[in-house]
């Protein structure tokens, strides 16, 4: 059989196009296309979630770690004794470390050395999101939560370098041996993945407040919608003098502190 170049290319082209189209159609086997995806009905929603930490109330219980324990138990956060490898979502830090721009060479007696509760600020302009090459971390359009998709994280740690608040931790090894009581209803992380606070988005979807907010015996953590002028967080911001961490960086944290 003889064939000229033109008809050979024509036939080959048609065959390739047909194979691609056939493969695509074959992928859509009957059954899955009638699925309808819905948000959970009882979920707590807001246009901009934010938090106010009232350190006056927090200080009433010296050495209390209820919020930290509740958070870390709820999210299978490993308790690694080695400080260079520790993983933390919410933790306490000295005032001068949390608010370095507030420090002068004449430290305030009352503030210096005081323990302040820290967590991810869920910034309005999050630098971690800007640097993530896989969009494993992103800011949710609906409510401003800076989310993590651990499936996508490739462990490059750009976000850790970018976050000015130390809110992100890296799993240098398998975290499972360090999780005191593993829960099956929340995943653990694995070696090579970055993790951080997610404002308990899984609890919000179930209609529950974040674990730390719920666990606080003094109700020092107030969580609510910053876009709603009538919310409790907005009332506190109206009536109290509040601080954000490192405001000079322009990240616009959505966690506020009453000192």
């Amino acid at each position: 059989m003889s064939m000229d170049r033109k008809s050979f290319l024509k036939i080959t082209g048609c065959a390739v196009a047909g194979a691609i189209a056939g493969g695509k159609l074959g992928g859509l086997v009957a059954g899955a296309e009638d699925a309808e995806y819905l948000p959970a009905p009882g979920a707590l929603t807001a246009r901009r979630w934010g938090m106010v930490v009232d350190t006056r109330k927090c200080r009433k219980q010296e050495g209390c770690k209820d919020c930290i324990r509740a958070c870390h138990q709820a999210h299978n956060v490993p308790q690694i004794p080695d400080k260079t490898r520790e993983v933390k979502w919410i933790w306490k830090e000295k005032f001068e470390h949390a608010f370095p721009s507030q420090e002068t060479e004449y430290p305030n007696e009352e503030l210096h050395g005081r323990q302040v509760l820290l967590l991810c600020n869920h910034c309005d302009d999050p630098p971690c999101v800007r640097v993530c090459p896989t969009q494993a971390t992103w800011k949710r359009e609906a409510d401003g939560i800076v989310m993590m998709d651990w499936h996508r994280c490739i462990g490059c740690r750009y976000c850790i370098a970018a976050c000015p608040y130390g809110s992100r931790s890296f799993n240098w090894g398998d975290p499972r041996p360090y999780i005191p009581k593993v829960r099956a209803d929340y995943p653990t992380r694995t070696k090579g993945v970055v993790e951080k606070c997610t404002f308990c988005e899984e609890r919000l979807a179930r209609g529950e407040m974040p674990a730390c907010v719920e666990a606080c015996p003094e109700k020092a953590l107030v969580f609510g919608d910053l876009a709603d002028p009538n919310s409790e967080v907005r009332r506190l911001l109206r009536t109290e003098y509040t601080l954000r961490r490192k405001p000079e960086l322009g990240t616009r944290p959505e966690v506020f502190y009453i000192l």
Partner: protein
């Protein structure tokens, strides 16, 4: 083509060696291994069994996309609503990860990494028992 005989002999030997496991087992009458999967608790799966067998990984990927990235937690299929959760929904019917997921994945020689992070309820106490006791922060 002076070496035709040698080449053909070599080829025949090569094919005989490569297919050795096949005809050896046939000659001995070894029956192929049957896959024994635990029966699910529920009556029907989210999608038909045949579809699930072929596409459960695609379904799980879609669920993951919907839950993590789009904030949808429920899926409505054929009038029934399910929570899109591997450990809560799938494993509620397929009670044993070991006798269902693992068994088939071993049989098919695939190693998905779902379980590097997700914990099956039956495994949770085992993982917990393996944990070293660390001082609570």
């Amino acid at each position: 083509m002076r070496d035709r005989g040698w080449i053909l002999l070599g080829l025949a030997l090569f094919i005989a060696l490569v297919t050795f496991p096949l005809w050896y087992n046939t000659a001995l009458g070894v029956a192929p291994k049957q896959l024994q999967l635990e029966k699910a608790k529920g009556e029907a799966c989210v999608y038909e069994t045949a579809y699930m067998r072929q596409h459960h990984m695609d379904v799980l990927m879609e669920w993951r996309e919907q839950v993590v990235r789009r904030g949808n937690h429920l899926v409505k299929v054929g009038g029934k609503t399910y929570e899109m959760s591997l450990t809560k929904t799938c494993l509620d019917c397929h009670r044993s990860k070991e006798r269902f997921c693992d068994r088939c994945h071993d049989y098919a020689a695939v190693t998905p990494y779902c379980w590097d992070c997700h914990v099956s309820p039956e495994e949770a106490p085992v993982v917990a028992a393996r944990a070293r006791t660390a001082d609570e922060r």
